[in-house]
Amino acid sequence: MEKISYKLEVFEGPLDLLLHLISKNKLNIYDIPVAVLLEQYMEHIDKMKEADMDIASEFLEMAAYLVYLKTVSLLPKHEEEAKNLKMELTGQLLEYKAVREAAEKLSERLDFDTFVREPMEIEPDRTYKGKISLVELKKAYFAAVGRGKRRLPPPETAFNKIVKRKVVSVSSKIIYVLKRLFKEKRVKFESIFENATSKSELVATFLAILELIKGKRVKVATTSKGDTLQLAAKKADEI
């Protein structure tokens, strides 16, 4: 029990975390320094991992978005796109911030201290006495089943993607990448993603590569022809 020396703050989602980082570091929300924010964000994700918390795929998606934003900001001739992306993020954050303020106002007013009565049972008969139109009924049916396009509910397997969303951990992908590199020495960048079947798997794989580069375990280089990106494990003397 003593291992848990501090409790990691729990955030409602990536936007909540970003707002927290922005206010903690007094960053300018109207002109977000992406590199700083990304670094802090990843640091927090790391802490979450250390604390063995489940990291929802939304957090990873935001990480990927920030990486993308940073990449675009670094590329020459992409100033316009970078500016737009940053404004989009600013807008999202401001909107979410406004929602949080509104939520706080609601919570100040909201209470469950007034009581009402159950309707009086003059006669226990609550039988419906109104008219129901056949046309309305049919319309409601189509509304429910989607204009008759699928009269019968889809098979259970159709819901697998929605319900059984797999949470992919970055560490499992780090192992996967390292294993591939151990076997094949050099791997085409794209081929690392070949086996990924879901968005969260793609994101996790990409984050794994970033982690490995940051940890100086792998390097990325172009082939001699310069047309493909390759991934290779760093040799001990290179580290």
Partner: protein
């Protein structure tokens, strides 16, 4: 004539409970003794009467209740009757339609189509007498199955569910025509009875 704090507290509890409440229970909740509950109930009754309220405090054996005076029964009945014929909500209509066109069906079936929990809606449709339980399905969990009632047929103004408008595949064209016909006839309603 003003209610004092004690009378008001008793009134609040009796109002919220709706039904008759045991004097012992009132005594416990309000932290009074039995005698005090009876005294306050009496003075509350007296004050409501003086104030010309439509409510009166009734003592039944060892219980107390607030209810409306007899002379308001007519207005109340009328108001409650109107409630019984209020149009169904969109959610209720959709659940009803799914049951009409697929019965007998389980709650799970309905919820799979609608994508949301439908317990409350099903319960209220049962209370309104428009649908009813029709036994259980011989499947793991033995889920309840629901079907339509005669009351529903009456509300729809049909004598059998075979008179429902068809919803077969390839019906969309026809449906538009029907929609057109009925949209032209504004406020048209099928009503055989009443």
């Amino acid at each position: 004539m003003k209610l004092n704090e004690l009378e008001a507290a008793l009134e609040a509890v009796l109002f919220a409970s709706g039904e008759a409440v045991e004097i012992d229970r009132l005594a416990e909740a309000l932290e009074w003794d039995r005698q005090k509950v009876i005294e306050i109930a009496d003075s509350l009754a007296e004050k409501l009467k003086e104030a010309g309220s439509s409510l009166e405090v009734v003592k039944l054996e060892d219980k107390v209740q607030i209810c409306t005076k007899k002379q308001y029964a007519e207005s109340i009945r009328k108001a409650l009757d109107i409630r019984k014929s209020l149009p169904l909500s969109q959610a209720a209509l959709e659940v009803l339609a799914i049951i009409c066109y697929n019965q007998p069906v389980t709650k799970a079936f309905i919820e799979q189509i609608r994508g949301v929990d439908c317990s409350g809606v099903i319960q209220s449709l049962c209370a309104k007498g428009l649908i009813e339980e029709k036994g259980r399905l011989e499947l793991p969990g033995r889920p309840l199955i629901y079907g339509t009632t005669d009351t529903l047929l009456r509300c729809l103004g049909v004598s059998s569910l075979s008179e429902l408008l068809p919803v077969d595949e390839g019906q969309e064209e026809e449906e538009k025509v029907i929609d057109g016909v009925f949209e032209a006839e504004e406020g048209y309603q099928i009503s055989l009875e009443g």
